[in-house]
């Protein structure tokens, strides 16, 4: 379909088959790409701010490996493939909740989420989950199953339709709204937990709200597209470059940058090799990696210090 054809379709001309393609295939795919970019980049920004570390990424809380474990189990049991998004969502969310429980500090005045512990338990649980997949898949799975899983892990959007997009949008968009409204809380937390509390912030509640928002966003994205890396790292980074100050603006800019990045990458995935589709996650990493290294080399000191 040429751009001209698509254009005329927008105004109600052109043939029915093309309209069908746009309405049922292209549009949901476009919106899916936009949604996962939005979600991953925003989640990345939230986690980077919470952990005061610009190298934090949305998969930090174990969402990705939990989702992968869930999907691996689903494939092994032979569940219907249409259930994969739901299972990925549940696996990711369950792992993240476990990570939060593990990193919650005991009661009393200092009740809050320990961010260093969050990072460490996230890493530990991720390793356990990937190891479990690697142990179980070759023993119980067939070649096809393993291939199916690795395809899913690579991340991609081919064949996404409204029935997958709409449920994901239903919980991702509210989480995004919460994220955008938590900019003041992020700023207060950046003064340190004690000062934030003395300024009237319920530290534990704010941390949990922000973390849940990040997890919901990430799990939603993973359920839709598998593991698409780097957006959550580069999106916020670009946003900080364009918008040097102001949490709320930076959050919005992160969402926008992530959106543009995935749209571009998905477009690339479809058109670089005509007639063949490249995995979105791999393409993002191949193109995003060098960009990220370039950005790092220009501002390494800042990244490490902040």
């Amino acid at each position: 379909m040429s751009p001209l054809q698509a254009w005329s379709l927008l105004y109600g001309h052109g043939d029915e088959a093309n309209l069908q393609v746009i309405r049922e295939i292209r549009l949901p795919r476009l919106l899916s790409a936009a949604l996962i970019g939005l979600a991953l980049s925003t989640a990345g920004y939230l986690l980077q701010k919470l952990s005061r570390n610009q190298l934090a990424d949305p998969y930090l809380t174990g969402v990705s490996s939990g989702a992968a474990l869930g999907v691996a189990a689903a494939i092994l049991i032979g569940l219907d493939l249409s259930l994969v998004p739901l299972i990925a969502l549940m696996g990711g969310a369950a792992t993240s909740l476990l990570v939060i429980v593990l990193s919650s500090r005991g009661g009393g005045s200092t009740a809050s989420v320990s961010i260093p512990r969050l990072l460490l338990s996230g890493i530990a649980l991720s390793s356990i989950a990937s190891a479990a997949i690697n142990l179980v898949m070759p023993v119980f799975g067939t070649q096809t199953m393993a291939q199916g899983l690795s395809l899913w892990l690579l991340g991609g959007l081919s064949g996404r339709n409204w029935s997958e997009l709409l449920p994901a949008a239903c919980y991702t968009l509210p989480a995004l709204a919460v994220a955008l409204m938590s900019s003041k809380q992020l700023r207060l937390l950046s003064l340190g937990e004690e000062t934030a509390a003395s300024l009237g912030l319920d530290v534990r509640k704010s941390q949990l709200v922000i973390l849940s928002s990040a997890i919901t966003l990430t799990a939603g994205a993973v359920s839709l597209s598998g593991l698409v890396g780097f957006v959550g790292l580069i999106g916020p980074h670009l946003a900080r470059r364009f918008v040097p100050q102001g949490e709320r603006l930076q959050l919005a800019a992160s969402a926008l940058c992530g959106c543009i990045l995935t749209l571009a990458a998905d477009l690339g995935a479809r058109i670089i090799l005509p007639g063949q589709e490249l995995p979105l996650g791999s393409l993002m990493a191949v193109a995003g990696g060098p960009i990220f290294i370039y950005l790092l080399s220009k501002s390494l000191d800042q990244v490490v210090e902040r």
């Binding site: 005045s109 809380q185 207060l188 340190g192 000062t195 003395s198 300024l199 912030l201």
Partner: protein, 295 residues
């Protein structure tokens, strides 16, 4: 003015009832290993009771590690008491929500973690958080708050620094910005942990002058101080702390600076020979007695 005189004249702002506090780290360790037998008392602050009266400036003093900051945290709702309680205007501070408490009491810890991309005005605006709804941005304010902000900025002489980055300010300027943030909470009680540390002599005096000024506006102030003469200069009363033991509580003495700081208790707490002279204008100046040879 004696302790009894203050008591008879003024309203109780904050009251401590045999407060026990322990260091955050020790608490978990002792529970597991039963270290009570080893160290005499795992409590940082033991059995402290006193009343703080409206409009007074109280200086908390004592040697390093005697629990000054811990006591202040206990008063600031930053550390839960092991036993005993703290009441603010007759209400247990832990029965109040963080927001309710923060709209009445401002607490400035010894050092504030400040992100390096934060502007002065941004920090000051965060002080209004206890009066805002959670979704309102920190810059949100009504007409009254706008006037109050202008007043605070004027009083602390921050007009020219408003748009500057906090990381680029000098220690004195930053301290002023932090105090401005606390004032935007519109507290009636201000708790400060060593507000003068790291400042040169002139700026120390400047901050003290601000605090005196604030007291005139009706603010009650508690501050941890090290310098006896500053304490005598600014405080109505001094709470002298000592390391608690089984036999004694944390509060070694409480009273008017000239009496408490010149006493034998003060000498034993600081473990130096302090003496004082009365100056002609009614002030008391503390100094260290010359050590005699071979004694």
């Amino acid at each position: 003015m004696t302790d009894a005189q203050i008591k008879s004249q003024e309203k109780v702002k904050l009251q401590l009832f045999s407060l026990d506090l322990s260091y955050q780290k020790v608490r978990q360790g002792t529970a597991k290993q039963g270290m009570e037998s080893k160290s005499a008392l795992p409590l940082a602050v033991h059995d402290v009771s006193f009343s703080l009266f409206e409009g007074e400036i109280l200086a908390i003093m004592g040697a390093n590690g005697c629990g000054k900051s811990t006591l202040l945290k206990g008063m600031a709702r930053a550390l839960k008491p092991n036993s005993g309680k703290v009441e603010f205007e007759g209400e247990n501070i832990w029965a109040l929500s963080p927001k309710q408490f923060a709209s009445k009491v401002a607490y400035l810890p010894q050092s504030l973690q400040i992100p390096d991309d934060m502007k002065v005005i941004e920090l000051i605006n965060l002080g209004r958080n206890p009066h805002q709804k959670w979704w309102q941005p920190s810059s949100h304010m009504d007409g009254k708050e706008r006037a109050h902000l202008a007043e605070v900025i004027e009083k602390l002489d921050l007009g020219d620094l408003k748009e500057r980055n906090l990381a680029h300010l000098s220690g004195g300027e930053r301290q002023r910005a932090i105090i401005a943030m606390a004032l935007c909470q519109r507290p009636s009680l201000l708790l400060m942990d060593e507000p003068l540390s790291g400042l040169d002599f002139r700026h120390q005096l400047e901050i003290l002058a601000y605090l005196k000024d604030l007291r005139r506006d009706g603010l009650t102030i508690v501050l941890v101080l090290h310098d006896l003469n500053f304490a005598a200069h600014i405080a109505n009363r001094v709470a002298l702390l000592q390391k608690p033991t089984e036999a004694s509580n944390s509060l070694a003495a409480l009273g008017v600076p000239s009496e408490v700081l010149g006493s034998n208790v003060s000498k034993s707490v600081f473990q130096v020979d302090i003496d004082c002279i009365e100056t002609g204008d009614g002030r008391t100046v503390f100094y260290l007695k010359q050590e005699k040879e071979n004694s």
